[in-house]
């Protein structure tokens, strides 16, 4: 079940490398560099230094007692990636890739961003390591995540609003890839999720696996065993794969929660694994939201970070092999969980992570009090307060009760 390193970039039938020929040498160079450095003691030492001293690892595994009581079932633990520098798990990956880019002697870094968290984490890594960063962001996302645009600018990174297509994450990735094709010899593309052509999905997973590794160690101390269940939200799926991968061989049930938007049946959602079909996008074969002729669908989610019509290929593999159960939580449930966690625990979760919290509450109720659930709280929700405010004022009629 566990695929340590995918042969030819394949997780089962998924993944691979469907890219314009111009990028082939760049992707091969990247893979060679990654294989060279991933076990290199100096590289590991430097990454460890930045993860601990700069980003704030390890993150706590917090027993959410109030939320557990509220749900009335299994114990709920929160893996506090929201406490990392920048406010999300994204920095685990950007520090790793930025250190790699430096060793590859690439000074110009480009990245895409949805909610802006990966953009901010890229900007931080670039600033700390003396690299030049430029970030592509869908125009629609720059409007709903203004705070993060401002933060990136503060950190010295230029933000390019993308006005093509749906003006969200997928179009930001398209534009970043076009930039990479044009400036391939000087530029490092720092992809933010476990998506794209090989070796990105495996590399991003490896950098994010620090989440699951820590959960494993921390749960052994707290409960003397691995968690009975883990829950993580899935957009592209980087925090989820980082949570799942180290626990794949353990006796742990795994749940990936996608954005159900206005409901999977409504057609306005981003639940790729729940409601999608196989296809090729952004260099990979994976589940996609698309029409019957292969045109990529418009997606919807209240959380910009989950608003993506594709998903990491390893998730597609884990779905088909039934190791992980994927389900969807809609906008309304996510907002409710956002409010609940804020009220009961004093923790304002990102809207992305709120999907996982909502699912965990439902799951806890079906489990016994002696069992445990770990929810990866991938980010904090300061960036989302305006969006939640807008949602609540639009939905005053069917008032949300907490």
């Amino acid at each position: 079940m566990k695929i340590k390193y995918p042969k030819n970039g394949k997780f089962g039938e998924f993944g691979g490398s469907y890219i314009p020929e111009t990028l082939v040498p760049a992707v091969e160079e990247l893979e060679q560099a990654y294989l060279k450095y991933k076990n290199d003691p100096d590289f590991k030492k430097e990454l460890h230094y930045y993860l601990t001293q700069y980003a704030g690892r390890p993150t706590p595994l917090y027993y959410a007692e109030n939320l557990t009581k509220f749900a009335g079932g299994a114990k709920i633990y929160l893996k506090r990636e929201d406490l990392l520098h920048g406010g999300a798990h994204k920095i685990n990956n950007t520090l790793g890739q930025a250190l790699l880019a430096k060793r590859m002697k690439k000074k110009r870094i480009i990245a895409e961003t949805g909610a802006g968290q990966h953009g901010v984490a890229t900007a931080m890594a670039c600033s700390a390591l003396g690299l030049d960063g430029e970030v592509y962001m869908g125009y629609k996302d720059t409007q709903r995540q203004k705070l993060n645009v401002f933060r990136m600018n503060l950190l010295g990174t230029k933000v390019h609003p993308v006005k093509d297509g749906t003006q969200t994450l997928k179009d930001a990735i398209n534009e970043a890839i076009r930039d990479w094709i044009t400036n391939v010899e000087t530029t490092y593309y720092l992809l933010g999720s476990a998506v794209g052509p090989h070796p990105y999905p495996v590399m991003v997973r490896d950098f994010q696996s620090v989440i699951g590794d820590e959960i494993k160690t921390q749960m052994k101390k707290l409960e003397r065993k691995s968690p009975d269940s883990v829950v993580a939200c899935v957009g592209g799926g980087s925090n989820a794969i980082g949570t799942f991968y180290p626990l794949i061989d353990e006796d742990t049930q795994m749940y990936g929660v996608e954005a159900g938007g206005m409901g999977v049946k409504s057609g306005h959602h981003s639940a790729t694994l729940v409601g999608g079909s196989k296809g090729v996008l952004h260099g990979m074969l994976t589940y996609l939201l698309q029409d019957k002729e292969g045109q990529i669908s418009e997606t919807h989610s209240i959380s910009a970070g989950l608003d993506y019509p594709g998903v990491g290929p390893e998730h597609s593999y884990l779905k088909d092999s039934k190791r992980v159960k994927y389900d969807a939580v809609n906008d309304r449930e996510a907002v409710e969980a956002f409010l609940l966690l804020s009220k009961h625990e004093g923790i304002i979760p990102a809207l992305e992570s709120s999907h996982a919290v909502a699912y965990a509450i439902k799951l806890a109720r079906k489990m016994s009090k002696s069992e445990s659930i770990v929810v990866t709280l991938s980010g904090r929700g300061d960036k989302d307060v305006e969006e939640v405010g807008r949602y609540l004022s639009k939905n005053v009629k069917n008032k949300i009760k907490v």
Partner: protein, 268 residues
């Protein structure tokens, strides 16, 4: 022998190079595409590439992106694309190459897609995101249906890989002239002509070499040909011309621009 192959054979016997023209199906309307193709044929184009729009064209620059989105917005889909090809086939037997992205084929299944477009009159396929390493099923289906597979190489493609890609290619091999997406290149640098010479050395006379991405003027076409290109490929420049011309003038405008490009492919 495939239609594309025999076209190159005829051109060789006349000591000519090929002019390959790209237009987006249904941009800005299907009627305009037909007019443009009439102009291309009359102006002396040798092969036509017909674009089938995809929602996420990541190898394309602004001009082709815009054309694709417009075409999709106006309702272009697979059945309308097939109708268009059939209409074109009533007027001309010029070799027709379909250019789109992998997912459009993958979604229907390679074999089903390719056999359907072949019946409508398509002779070859170009998929800018189909890497050679992922092409096994695609190649099998194309071979079975007798459709040429035109792969792309780039100025940074290693010699061994050029050989491997050319082995899988039929009809011609497509050299991307620049680091960049499709569309207007103001000035070509030395690496482009170097890449053409280098590729020609490796290919010898095994398969014709077409050069495109940003070739938009007769002067640029001449430069590619004098460096060794067997064909020049022009796309965005045609789309810009189509967009800026009233429908009733498209055929004539395209004919005259095509003929100015075609002249560069004739023996001096």
């Amino acid at each position: 022998m495939s239609k594309i192959k025999s076209k190159f054979k005829v051109l060789r016997s006349k000591n000519q190079k090929a002019l390959i023209a790209y237009v987006m199906a249904g941009f800005p309307t299907e009627k305009d595409t037909i007019s443009a193709i009439r102009g291309l044929v009359k102006g002396g184009a040798d092969i036509i590439e017909l674009g089938m729009p995809f929602s996420d064209p990541l190898a394309d620059g602004p001009v082709i992106q815009h054309a694709g989105f417009t075409s999709l917005q106006k309702g272009m889909n697979f059945s309308r694309f097939l109708e268009l090809v059939k209409k074109i086939r009533k007027e001309t037997d010029i070799p027709l190459v379909l250019m789109t992205y992998t997912n459009i084929l993958y979604r229907q299944g390679y074999d089903r897609f390719i056999s359907t477009v072949k019946k409508a009159g398509i002779d070859g396929l170009i998929l800018p995101d189909m890497s050679i390493g992922e092409s096994h099923e695609f190649l099998k289906a194309a071979k079975k249906n007798g459709v040429d597979t035109i792969f792309l190489i780039s100025p940074n493609t290693e010699p061994d890989r050029i050989k491997k890609i050319s082995d899988a290619s039929s009809g011609f091999l497509y050299l991307v002239s620049v680091f960049g997406t499709t569309g207007g290149q103001q000035k070509f640098q030395g690496y482009t002509t170097h890449a053409i010479k280098n590729a020609k050395k490796i290919l010898a006379s095994k398969i014709p070499l077409g050069v495109g991405f940003g070739v938009s003027t007769p002067e640029q076409a001449k430069l590619m040909i004098s460096s060794g290109a067997d064909a020049i490929i022009v796309g965005s420049a045609f789309l810009r011309l189509i967009e800026g011309t009233p429908s009733n003038k498209i055929e004539e405008k395209i004919r005259s621009f095509t003929s100015s490009l075609k002249k560069t492919t004739l023996p001096e």
